[in-house]
């Protein structure tokens, strides 16, 4: 039987929204306060959904300890308390939460093989959140 397991994590980071494809004036008009050259920060909540057959011997889609260890090493330690603009993962792309969501999905998809990576959901603040499922439609 196929089930979907979602685990929620937190990390804090700073970023600045600025696109090299736009003039300074355009950047200011598109990104507003988020274009502040000194950056600003958020407490990001990341929800990772993995899917798979529930193993009859363990009752699990995958061992939570494996997921936690992978996310700790590859997401929380890499992004937590960092300036996202400075990280290799965001060279050449604007560290919007849309792009963060896609990056997190790609990292999980490439490196986590204990279950199928279904969806990533990132809350930038309590008021806005972003979801990405590799381009697939998202099921309620």
């Amino acid at each position: 039987m196929k089930a979907y397991l979602t685990r929620r994590y937190w990390f804090s980071a700073s970023h600045r929204l600025h696109s090299s494809a736009m003039s300074d004036q355009e950047n200011q008009s598109v990104y507003g306060k988020c274009n502040n050259p000194h950056g600003h920060g958020h407490n990001y909540a990341v929800e990772i959904t993995v899917a798979g057959q529930v193993d009859s011997a363990t009752g699990m889609v995958c061992n939570l300890a494996d997921l936690d260890a992978f996310v700790e090493e590859n997401i929380l330690e890499r992004f937590g308390h960092q300036n996202l603009n400075m990280l290799p993962a965001f060279q050449g792309i604007v560290p919007t939460t849309e792009n963060l969501c896609v990056r997190v999905y790609d990292i999980l998809r490439e490196g986590f093989h204990y279950a199928q990576v279904e969806k990533i959901r990132v809350e930038e603040t309590m008021l806005n959140s972003f979801e990405y499922a590799g381009g697939r439609e998202i099921r309620i």
């Binding site: 039987m1 196929k2 397991l5 529930v54 363990t58 009752g59 939570l64 309620i140």
Partner: protein, 136 residues
Amino acid sequence: MVYLTRKAEFSASHYYHNPEFTPEENQRIFGKCNNPNGHGHNYTLEVTVKGKVDDRSGFVVDLKQLKEIMNREVIDAMDHRFLNKEVADFKDRIPTTENLAISIWGRLKPKLNLAELHRVRVYETSDLFVDYYGEA
């Protein structure tokens, strides 16, 4: 088609153990959850049903009836219970959150003729939940 979700809460204890594993394997795979004396959670159950909005009532489903079914089939059976020892579903199945969601689906599905069951979501804690859609 409108989707309607009703929440309920229950508190229960459980532990993870497979008698076919050695004690070392049980400890390695299940860690702290292998403590045979059990530990507990405040579970939140979300049941989502879907259907057409009835012209006369404006409802997808009568929430009173859905609540009664959830209480009778799930909450009365599991609230303040040691899942491994007191709920028959887990006699031979480890009461992981995955298996809880599957078991709750199995309890609700045959009783729900009011609307179509769409999803069972079980939160073990606020940062861990499982969804089951009745898939094989």
